[in-house]
Amino acid sequence: MNLKPVALAGLLLLISLSLFFVGPLLVTDSPDHSLPGTTSLAVLSAVDDQFEKVLKPRKFTFPRDHGAHENYRTEWWYFTGNLQNQSGRKFGYQLTFFRYALNRKNITSISAWRSNQMYMAHLALTDVENKRFYSDEKFSRSANGLAGSKTNKFKVWLHHWSAEQQGAENSPIHLTAETSQFSIDLLLQITKPLVLQGQEGFSQKSSEPGNASYYYSYTRLKTIGTIRVANYFFTVSGISWMDREWSTSSLSAEQIGWDWFALQFSDNTELMYYQLRRKDGRTDKNNSGAVFLADHSKIPLGPADITVKILDQWKSPHSGIAYPSHWQLSIPSQQMEIEIKPLINNQELNLSYRYWEGAVAIRGSKKGIPITGQGYVELAGYRN
């Protein structure tokens, strides 16, 4: 039997779903990006107008806003973290839940399976010592209890994979997900309060009104737990990061991808910065980020405040795509000069939607004092 169509069908399904999560950037018309599925997106996005748009800052209320916002098309719960066991063996992990609304129709059905809310989850693990990277994905409709999120407490799940707050607000979040190859079972303690990204949680991604998202993060989550690689269990601890974001549309046709940095420094400060890559190669004025200080204050960053220099590239043997693999980041206002390097190069998620999302190490200086750190970088929209 020819396996190709099977794989293709699976791929197409995922592409059609994930295009909306990781970036409508793929909707652009560039010929080499007319991946199967993209041309048909018009069918699914025809009902665009029916979704609410992110037009202005809003007031967040929790735990309500930890739950899904089904009036918006896409949404995600994004966990990444750097961990190590007692002997110092390093691991990175990613667990992400994506929600995608297929349409805004009201549903009346006798069937509990009828739903227009789709969930997708990605799980990845980086085994630094063995230079191995594992990833897997799951899909389900939000129906019949198979996947969904709660509004009365932090809980999102897809089948057996879940992120759930153990008790009341600010109590630890329990992450659990497993595949036949690897699994994670982690407890994430909120050590720094929730931060609203952009303008009070309103994050503009391109100039058109509505091309924005609501965005908040937990930038420092003290993490303990167990991970499993094949049949080996490791007791680990470390620091995680959580991003929550929902929107109906974000990128413009000019924007083809993004690089996103979530960095945690040894001095109890963090940095989030995303830069949107344009077709014309110019710096996008919507690039944005912030430094989060130890005293919980926030210093916003715009494109003028930061320079990102790519020092090296890595070409994926799977996809042939060349990704940046070594960066130099300077923030003159903070007197910060750092270099960012992936813990291992191959952290490409070869799932139905392909992107690079990996654990990184940081070395550099801040105000003349050496600084180290760790974090995650996401590279989306790269192609051959």
């Binding site: 396996l3 169509p5 099977v6 995922l14 069918v43 699914l44 198979l146």
Partner: protein, 850 residues
């Protein structure tokens, strides 16, 4: 030398085209029937597997519910609570197209978002849009469906067209958003009349919210043992985990008896076909005795002669078998509809069936055809080589030898008959050996035929010589003296007719037994039952409230009820009938053992069951033994206190009271309610009153109409048997026809002499007709005891072993007369054409012909 040989024979073969044709018919019909049956039966199973491939893909296990309806919450529990991957929920049902009523259409509801481990065919579908998008559209848009391209072409539908289906709530338009991809592994027939929708759409259409038909599981390796373990631990008394292999195996097991019995009929056709081949080849050898003698005279060796005849047979066998395969596929296609209907009603849901042809099956047919031909041609081939060059030119030499052979054959026949009888009774439970014994018996009787014929003809010759003179004694003498030809024809005809008689007797006995059983069982005046729900694979049940309302009607003396369901036992899923009986309906049970006065009291008050005869036979259970059943309170022992007759299915079932059922299983409705009217009640009035209480899904029937309907089902199950029997008879008739024709045409000179010495046309016609009539009569007379024997073995050995049923032997004289008449008429008919032809031949021409 070889080229002379070949040419001489080729010329000979082509000079006798009709002999050639008959030989080919013999081989091809035999092969065709065997192939057809094999194809039809295997295709039913293969179709089942292919539908699985389309809907579920590769699976290792399946979770089913005992009543066919799985709660969808189980799926969520397995996925979310237990974290079990690679599960696929499926709901299936039947739908009706609004514009093509009567054409069965299957709907399968699936979840497009499951892992692609299953590699099911629905993933590989084509549409104007890309596949993934239409899979998403299945979920996101209500009333969307995938159908096969063949179906779409047939219904003249394009992508995004609508297909109207009939639902209880009216017509519903389904949008076709993609085509199921056809590939080499899936027959396009399978995809025909099949529709894939999202599970939500299917639940809506079938009006079965909350229900799944089954959940598939794909175990990927040893690691998954813990998943299987946790699935097992999570199953309730109403759910069962079976392996896919087990499922196919149990299907094979279920249809094994059906299968073997049909194949036996196929083999019977081939056996008779072999007679035909033997007959033709003998004829061809005999006709060429002069030629062979001549060839031997000019130095051709025995070996060359033997090779020549065998290779000639091989040539015929190849052509005949090829024709047979072609014909077999055609017949198989026709048979498939019949077998699948039977399988569907009696055994399991097949869904759409398609004739699936494997090269192995065709190879089997080829080998069978060639093997049978060579086997049948060996005696004449040896015969041709063993005679010396000069003697081979003398025909009488052969007849004398054959004459001697009849004695040996008779003895061999007797031994075979005895062996067959011993095998029949000593082969315990084997259906195969039971049927084999029939074949050995038939073969034995056939071997005895020439000897018997010679004896009978000698006797008849003496009698007719005495009363009718020389001309009168001619027919028996002709039959007896050319026994090499007539003997085979009589044997073939005898076998066909005895098979007819045997089967008729068996079916009659069976019919009578079933009729008696139904009459005894139907105790109530009226029965309310649920119609099979068109849209569901499950029968709908009758509510308690309906029963209560009927009970309250004036004129109702009492009620009885039954629920046909399935229960999980140690050995898997078994059928169960749950009864509420009254003293009248209790009389409807025919027990196979002596019963004592408190049997019914025990049945009502203790944790006991009755089992049917078939159930007892197949599970090797006896009264007093205990069966453990899986209940909501764990495994519970049920003591068997009675075994009763039941012919409603060949797997058998258990029976328990409703009281005990309700204690251990969830309370369900009823499959049927029996209504007993007061003796002085106005039945017509009562009938009308009951009718008023019933919803459209429920039917009210009198016991007579149930009787009638049951008997119709009975007849339906014998459709295939009858069809095959007539095919066998047809081959036999062809055999007789060819033998007699050959015989008569061979005697042109003889008839010429008769005509020359003053025998009139009329007398000659009469002579020929009498001879063939005699042949028919001998065959018929011999067929009667043989048929009787066959019926006996079929009833008491083969059917008991196949279905676990005992039946009473109902002797029917008319069957015997019919058999006799059949043999006689067949032979007489075969004589007409030669008789006319011979009679019309001018004596001088006839004399010249040699």
């Amino acid at each position: 030398m070889t080229s002379i040989l070949v040419r001489a024979n080729r010329n000979f073969l082509f000079q006798h085209p009709w002999q050639l044709a008959l030989a080919l018919i013999g081989i091809s019909l035999g092969v065709a029937v065997v192939i057809a049956i094999d194809l039809a039966l295997e295709s039913s199973l293969q179709s089942f597997q292919q539908i699985n491939q389309v809907v579920s893909g590769k699976t290792s296990h399946r979770i089913i519910a005992r009543d066919g309806n799985l709660n969808e919450k189980l799926y969520t529990q397995l996925r979310v609570e237990l974290g079990i991957p690679n599960l696929a929920p499926v709901i299936r049902g039947n739908i009706q197209l609004a514009n093509h009523p009567g054409e069965p259409f299957k709907i399968y509801g699936i979840d497009p978002l499951i892992e692609d481990t299953f590699q099911s065919t629905w993933r590989l579908q084509t549409s104007n849009q890309k596949s993934a998008i239409s899979l998403i559209r299945l979920v996101s848009e209500a009333n969307t469906a995938l159908i096969a391209k063949v179906t779409a072409e047939q219904l003249a539908l394009k992508i995004n067209d609508h297909l109207a289906i009939a639902t209880p709530k009216g017509t519903l338009n389904l949008k076709i958003i993609g085509f199921l991809n056809q590939n080499s592994t899936i027959s396009s027939q399978i995809l025909k009349n099949l529709m894939i929708t999202d599970i939500s759409t299917a639940q809506e259409i079938l009006n079965q919210p909350g229900k799944l038909s089954f959940i598939e599981f794909m175990s990927e390796g040893n690691n998954d043992k813990r998943f299987l373990e946790s699935i097992r631990n999570h199953l309730t008394a109403d759910t069962l985990l079976i392996t896919s292999e087990n499922q196919i195996q149990s299907m094979r097991q279920m249809t094994k008896a059906f299968n073997i019995n049909l194949k036996a009929l196929g083999m019977l056709s081939l056996l008779i076909g072999m007679f035909l081949i033997y007959n033709t080849m003998t004829f061809l050898v005999i006709q060429r005795r002069r030629l062979i003698g001549g060839l031997r005279c000019i130095g051709v060796t025995r070996r060359q002669i033997f090779t020549l005849i065998i290779s000639e047979a091989l040539f015929l066998a190849c052509i005949g078998s090829l024709l047979g395969i072609f014909l077999g596929v055609l017949i198989g296609n026709a048979l498939l509809q019949l077998t699948s209907t039977t399988i569907e009603t009696i055994y399991y849901q097949v869904g759409q069936v398609a004739l699936i042809i494997s090269p192995e099956q065709l190879g089997k047919g080829m080998i069978l055809g060639i093997g049978a031909t060579i086997f049948a041609v060996l005696p004449p081939a040896w015969e041709a080589t063993k005679v010396s060059p000069t003697s081979s030119l003398i025909r009488s030499q052969l007849e004398r030898k054959i004459y001697k052979f009849t004695h040996i054959a008779g003895i061999l026949g007797l031994i075979s008959v005895l062996g067959g009888v011993i095998l029949a009774f000593s082969s315990e439970k084997s259906i195969f050996l039971g049927l084999a014994s029939i074949f050995i018996l038939l073969f034995g009787f056939a071997l005895m035929i020439p000897g018997l014929t010679v004896l009978m003809m000698k006797l008849l010759e003496k009698i007719s010589n005495h009363f009718l003179g020389i001309l009168g004694s001619l027919p028996p003498r002709m039959v007896g003296s050319e026994i090499s030809r007539t003997g085979v024809a009589i044997a073939a005809l005898m076998i066909a007719v005895s098979a007819t008689i045997g089967m008729d007797l068996m079916v009659n006995s069976f019919r009578q037994t079933v009729s008696d059983w139904i009459t005894t069982s139907l105790r109530a005046d009226f029965y309310v039952s649920a119609l099979s729900n068109q849209s569901s694979t499950q029968k709908q049940l009758i509510d308690q409230s309906v029963k209560d309302k009927i009970n309250a009607l004036p004129g109702v003396q009492m009620l009885s009820s039954v629920l046909h369901t399935r229960i999980i036992s140690e050995s898997g899923l078994i059928k169960a009938s749950v009864f509420e009986l009254n003293n009248k309906s209790q009389d409807g049970f025919i027990f196979k053992q002596k019963i004592d006065g408190n049997l019914w009291q025990q049945f009502e008050q203790r944790q006991t069951i009755f089992i049917t005869e078939s159930f007892a036979y197949f599970h090797e259970l006896k009264v007093g033994e205990t069966l453990f059943l899986h209940t909501k309170k764990g495994h519970q022992p049920f003591k068997i206190i009675g075994i009763y007759s039941d012919y409603s299915g060949d797997q058998g079932h258990i029976a328990m009271t409703r009281k005990w059922y309700q204690q251990y299983w969830k309370n369900s409705g009823f499959t049927g309610i029996g209504i007993y009217a007061d003796t002085n009640a106005n039945q017509q009035q009562l009938k009308q009153n009951i009718q008023k209480l019933l919803t459209p899904e429920l039917t009210l029937k009198s016991n007579q109409s149930i009787y009638k309907a049951s008997m119709e089902i009975f007849e339906q199950t014998f459709v295939i048997t009858n069809a095959l029997r007539w095919i066998a008879a047809g081959i036999a008739f062809t055999g007789v026809f060819s033998a007699l024709m050959a015989l008569q045409f061979e005697r042109i000179k003889q008839f010429g002499i008769l005509r020359a010495i003053g025998v009139t046309q009329r007398q000659l016609t009469l002579l020929i007709m009498t001879e063939t009539g005699l042949i028919g009569l001998i065959a018929g007379v011999c067929a009667i005891p043989v048929g009787y024997f066959m019926a006996y073995i079929l009833i008491f050995i083969v059917y008991l072993r196949s279905f676990g049923w005992t039946m009473a032997f109902h002797f029917n004289v008319s069957v015997l007369f019919q058999g006799l008449a059949l043999a006689f008429t067949a032979a007489l008919l075969a004589g007409i054409l030669p008789a006319i032809k011979m009679a019309q031949t001018k004596p001088a021409e006839a004399l010249r012909s040699e």
